[in-house]
């Protein structure tokens, strides 16, 4: 009895500091933000917060500009993550073979991922520059065109997405390759013995095995793409006009430029809920796959 008591004490002794830290740094600020989201409050005005119920939320949902930014954000996230997945997956299948110079090529492939997003944004901004940028130069030589990638409202979003694909496809490659290399050899050998076609082998052996890794990679990329800020901020500042204005920029502007603390908090909570929904969708997919 005394031993149990002692063990319990030791367990709590080790768990409590982590719990306290978690509460202080995650739970408490989250609750604080949630509370603020029901108040009209600006940190700059010096006036006390005024309870307004759901007004901040109704104002956000009733604002067509908010939906416009949401549409841009979703377009950005889905297009970027889709192409990163396809390119990363294709490259992973390639690098899963024994090819000459594989290690060097893999190392080079990973380079974009380790560059700071701000630096990537600046590089691409320079490369997209219409008068002396490298893209414009080659297009001019090849087809006599000098597109204004970041100044034309139709080209700006695809151009920014391209920079993201360049940067993050290696992440998909890395995750998928790790999954592919974890496929048990005996299964592949058995498939060889049974003379299964490549497609059958891929569909019934490789894909089910690497599915958890793929779901995790997609989940991480989606959440990361959803909270993207820095790269777009330096490339376009949300422009031209509002062509690349994504929701995280609205949160930044509301909270730190307009100092609308209450409404900024409400928008942050909405973003959190969206991220939770995404996470659950992916986890449901994963569970459904396992059951199947």
């Amino acid at each position: 009895m005394r031993k149990d008591h002692q063990e319990n004490f030791i367990k709590w002794f080790f768990i409590l500091p982590a719990l306290a830290f978690f509460f202080a740094w995650n739970i408490f600020p989250l609750l604080w933000v949630l509370g603020l989201s029901f108040h009209k409050y600006s940190i700059m005005t010096g006036r006390p917060p005024r309870f307004v119920g759901l007004e901040n939320y109704t104002r956000i949902f009733g604002d067509p500009y908010f939906w416009d930014r949401f549409r841009t954000t979703f377009t950005y996230v889905f297009v970027a993550v889709f192409f990163e997945f396809v390119i990363g997956f294709g490259l992973a299948l390639l690098f899963n073979q024994e090819i000459k110079g594989k290690k060097i090529m893999l190392t080079l492939m990973m380079a974009p991922m380790i560059i700071a997003p701000v630096a990537t944004g600046v590089f691409f901004r320079f490369m997209y520059e219409p008068t002396w940028g490298i893209f414009g130069y080659f297009l001019d030589k090849l087809v006599g065109l000098r597109p204004q990638f970041l100044q034309d409202s139709r080209l700006a979003l695809p151009s920014v997405i391209l920079a993201d694909i360049w940067m993050w496809s290696p992440f998909m490659l890395m995750m998928t390759l790790a999954g592919l290399q974890a496929v048990p050899d005996y299964l592949l050998e058995a498939a060889e013995v049974d003379r299964l076609s490549w497609w059958t082998k891929f569909r019934h052996i490789i894909l089910p095995t690497i599915k958890p890794v793929l779901v995790l990679a997609l989940l991480l990329r989606t959440i990361d793409a959803f909270r993207l800020f820095d790269k777009i901020f330096v490339m376009t500042g949300g422009g031209p006009g509002t062509a690349t204005e994504i929701i995280s920029m609205s949160v930044y502007r509301l909270a730190f430029l307009f100092f609308r603390t209450g409404r900024g908090s409400a928008l942050a909570i909405i973003l959190l809920v969206v991220a939770i929904i995404f996470t659950n969708i992916y986890l449901l997919l994963l569970r459904a796959g396992r059951k199947a």
Partner: protein, 462 residues
């Protein structure tokens, strides 16, 4: 036992006396060696701030003579993009970190609304020296750099750097006899050549000059600010609104609809977009830096930008045209010539613990000697006894245009919701310029509607 207690008591008294003596001595030393540090937050890479940083060590010596102890000035120069955010956050958190905030004029509303900065009226009234300084400023400068509400005698800041929009043109091209002959043959009037010629010029004649010098890909007519960043497109478009006879708001009622989207403003915005055809590719994203670079590299015949940023154009180390540029007044609009005022005030933080020293610093800064040094190093001073002099107008190539553009120059709203109001028009006007919004009327209708929403939310508009 009693003897022991007595001894302990004596020792205790001794310790207390020693501690008291040490404390008193350290206080005396501290008073004798008092040194105050004033911290100024400002924008890095911005000429007046960099010049100010070089000049202010002189104040330490001045303070020692005037106050009897040295006052050190420390400049915290932050990147331009973080300048507002850092200044506002420091004030909102009631931080004593900064004594002086180098602010943009439009932030006066936000800062004064929350009582984060000191209202200066009573200090000015009490101090004849300070009062004389303030009376020596142009009314336009008092309105723009000192007042909230805009244009009222409620003073919250003092002008640090004066500025307005001026036009930089290539004098070598204007004086070239072949160019002059070709221009006359094509358009039937002479190329403007002198400051006075440009003074008489309107936008429609100037457009002919731009057209004439547009020879892509080596030379374009002009470079102007169209970028969505900060207030770049707004400065220029609003200048055209005013010069076309329009306005941005009813300053009494805060009504925007019917004023922002007036026919004059629609025409002015259309005209501003039309001018893109005389500018390099990518000009729809140009801000101050790009304009200066295009001019310095000889890519454009002219640029319409601030007097405060002209220094690199005349620096042979950075400019290919350093000896070939004339600075003139920008053209007249359809109705008048009224452009945006630039420049920045500085304000005194409510949370500063050295207010007395700050006022001494201000008085030192506005002395004729320091203002002249400031001008020599590339800054734009504001005291009229200096800037109205012929000597000053000849000191830097942009000085004459800077001073002569002050009368009639205007500023944005100084409202606490300034940042929100500004972003709306930056987005809507840039959407129009980049082709996302089909016409100027729609862009201005949307601007008016969104700005009225903001003004209602802040309870300015009923």
């Amino acid at each position: 036992m009693r003897k022991v207690s007595c001894r302990i008591g004596k020792i205790m008294v001794g310790i207390v006396v020693v501690i008291a003596l040490i404390t008193a001595a350290s206080f005396t030393t501290a008073t004798l060696a008092q040194e105050v540090t004033l911290t100024i937050i400002a924008a890095s890479g911005w000429t007046p701030c960099e010049v100010g940083k070089k000049l202010t060590p002189e104040f330490t010596k001045y303070a020692e003579e005037k106050l009897g102890y040295p006052v050190k000035i420390v400049w915290d120069l932050v990147p331009f993009a973080n300048w507002y955010e850092k200044s506002a956050t420091a004030l909102a958190s009631h931080s004593t970190q900064y004594d002086i905030i180098f602010s943009d004029s439009q932030w006066l509303g936000t800062f004064s609304w929350g009582k984060h900065i000191i209202k200066l009226n009573s200090f000015i009234e009490k101090d004849p020296e300070l009062k004389a300084i303030v009376e020596d400023f142009y009314q336009e400068h008092r309105d723009a750099y000192m007042s909230y509400p805009y244009g009222t005698p409620n003073y919250w800041g003092l002008p640090m750097e004066g500025d307005d929009l001026v036009l930089y043109v290539r004098s070598d091209l204007l004086n070239d006899s072949t160019e002059r002959a070709n221009f006359k043959a094509k358009y039937g009037f002479d190329l403007p050549r002198t400051y006075e010629d440009f003074d008489a010029l309107d936008w429609f004649k100037f457009e002919k000059v731009l057209e004439f010098f547009t020879r892509p890909p080596d030379l374009y007519g002009t470079a102007m600010e169209y970028s969505k960043e900060y207030d770049f497109i707004s400065d220029h478009v609003m200048a055209l609104f005013w010069s076309w006879g329009g306005d941005i708001i009813d300053w009494e009622t805060y009504k925007v609809d019917g004023i922002m989207n007036s026919p004059q403003n629609v025409e002015a915005l259309e005209y501003y977009k039309h001018l893109l055809k005389y500018q390099p590719l990518g000009a729809a994203d140009y801000g101050i830096d790009q304009c200066i670079t295009a001019m310095s590299q000889g890519k454009v015949f002219s640029t319409l930008t601030w007097a405060a940023v002209g220094f690199p154009i005349f620096d042979p180390k950075t400019s290919l045209v350093s000896d070939k540029v004339l600075v003139v007044k920008p053209p007249k609009g359809k109705v008048m010539r009224s452009y945006c005022i630039g420049g920045q005030p500085w304000v005194l933080s409510e949370y500063s613990q050295h207010k007395k020293e700050v006022f001494e610093f201000f008085k030192w800064w506005y002395s004729k000697e320091i203002q002249w040094k400031f001008a020599e190093m590339g800054g734009n001073p504001v005291i009229r006894k200096l800037i109205d002099s012929e000597e000053f107008k000849k000191l830097n190539p942009w000085n004459r245009a800077y001073v002569e553009m002050i009368p009639g120059a205007r500023d944005f709203w100084h409202l606490p919701c300034y940042a929100e109001m500004l972003l709306v028009q930056q987005e809507e006007w840039h959407n129009y310029v980049s082709g996302a919004t089909p016409d100027a009327k729609t862009a201005l209708d949307r601007t008016a509607s969104r700005q009225e929403e903001i003004l209602k939310d802040w309870e300015f508009l009923k």
